[in-house]
Amino acid sequence: MQAFLHQLLSGLANGSIYASVALALVMIFKATHHVNFAQGELAMFSTYVAYTLIHAGVPYWGAFVITLVFSFAIGVAIERLLLRRLRHASALTVVIVFIGLLVIFNGLAGPLFGFTIKEFPTPFAPNASYGSTYLSPHEVGMIGVTLIVLAIVFAFFRFTRLGLAMRASAENPQSSRLVGIRVGWMLALGWGLASVLGAIAGMMAAPSVFLEPNMMVGIVLYGFAAALLGGIDNPWGAPIGGFIVGVLENLAGAYVVGSHLKLALALAVIVAVVVFKPSGLFGRTVVVRV
């Protein structure tokens, strides 16, 4: 029983990372109807930036905040400088552009920061008091940070003017313009925010998976699975999907499939959702207008 509980809680900890990635994906999907295939590489790149800052002597939380600002700026820049030109492009063109971004960021990490696998520090000391037999302090920290971030994001969208404007822009850009909202900037903001979520996921994951250019590939796949499971257009579903997928990964890995088939498991989840219930657990059923 103890082992099961441990796997369950550990799965929640991993799930918190998938929750952040899934939320980032859903945010961009809701606003643009595109899937950001470059999400993982942006997150990885931001994590490298944090690493560089920390190794230059900046204390952890300082580096954390600076990295968030940096990734926000990159997200905004990508939207304003690049994506805005592709507003009327075909879905295929946009997929290729995202892939281009993926390749750029993945390709820059090695030359800029080195290809060797690096250790990334955790601010949650290994012998801290809030650890237990079930969860290491870092895992507690992961869940804690994710829950705090989720709460902030949801409060932002629900209670602030800007959040309302962003929600409106995602739902109905034309009507949003008619009330004076600068929809383009709302999209840029959304990208910045999604970038920040990705960076947080990267910095939380790095202590366990170690920092190397391909560290986010598997994580992002699970993020996709989580986003689809929760409902690709439902921001509430994304974190729930993330936690479910995290627990699933751990339980299946421990009892059924073995850890070397993790990617295949993510594939199975994606195919299962997409074939049996494309709208996920909480998404709106997709209605195709004739």
Binding site: R161, L164, A165, R167, A168, E171, N172, Q174, S175, S176, R177, L178, V179, G180, I181, R182, V183
Partner: protein, 237 residues
């Protein structure tokens, strides 16, 4: 009285298809004007041209004396134009109150809550539905919500695209009555696009008749209604 809105020789197209040819019309400050015509005459295109919504425009569009062609939609709106679009453009997944708050998005003052009360005064049915999801409202209620939302920004000019569309005549009468009240009490200028000529003629002080992208007649409603050809073509007489 000076013209608040003035279109001079406006051509408009959606790329390959030319829709408006040399349209000229004025809306006086404080006035109520109807733009009438059959389906496809270019009425909606005219409103979209004013707000630069996916239409290519040549010619001059002046608002309070200032040229506004080419301005981004959100910038046109910021000048004080409210637009109740075709299809209402309700934010379906947001609540009624959120829809109204969005209407006031451009305002920084503290009067917003007060204005919610004010517009609910015009459309009492909204008051009971503030927390409801806007998508669950009936067609008529959504139309009222769309107008209320446009009012929240306290515009100088209100553009309405077929507010009677799909609504029972009784409801349309009610909405038109409220529009008349708003025009009188707030001195709000209005340009109304309508297919339902008969009800519109009772509401406004000036009519422009559009036919395949050209203004073919203009004048006070009594004059337009008295015109034989107009009556036969548009009023089914």
């Amino acid at each position: 009285m000076t013209a608040l809105l003035e279109l001079t020789g406006v051509d408009a197209d959606y790329g390959a298809t030319a829709v408006l040819r040399g349209v000229s019309l004025e809306v006086d400050d404080g006035g109520m004007v109807a733009l009438l015509g059959a389906n496809g005459a270019g009425k909606t295109t005219t409103l979209r041209a004013i707000c630069n919504m996916g239409v290519r425009v040549r010619g001059a569009i002046r608002f309070a004396g200032r040229r506004i062609e080419g301005l981004a939609t959100e910038d046109v709106v910021r000048l004080g134009i409210g637009h109740v679009p075709e299809g209402r453009g309700t934010f379906l997944s947001l609540t009624v109150e959120e829809n109204l708050r969005l209407g006031a998005m451009l305002r920084r003052d503290r009067g917003i809550a007060g204005d919610v009360t004010r517009v609910c005064g015009y459309f009492p049915v909204l008051r009971d539905r503030l927390e409801q999801q806007a998508g669950t409202l009936s067609g008529g209620e959504q139309q009222m919500l769309a107008i209320a939302r446009a009012l929240m920004s306290r515009p100088r000019l209100l553009l309405l695209d077929e507010p009677s569309f799909g609504l029972a005549p009784v409801l349309v009468q009610e909405i038109f009555r409220i529009l008349r009240v708003i025009n009188r009490e707030e001195k709000m200028t209005m340009l109304l696009v309508e297919q339902n000529a008969r009800l519109a003629l009772d509401l406004v002080g000036q009519v422009f008749l559009l036919e395949t992208g050209r203004v073919v007649a203009s004048g006070p409603p009594q004059q337009i209604a008295a015109d034989e050809t107009v009556r036969r073509a548009y009023l089914g007489q």
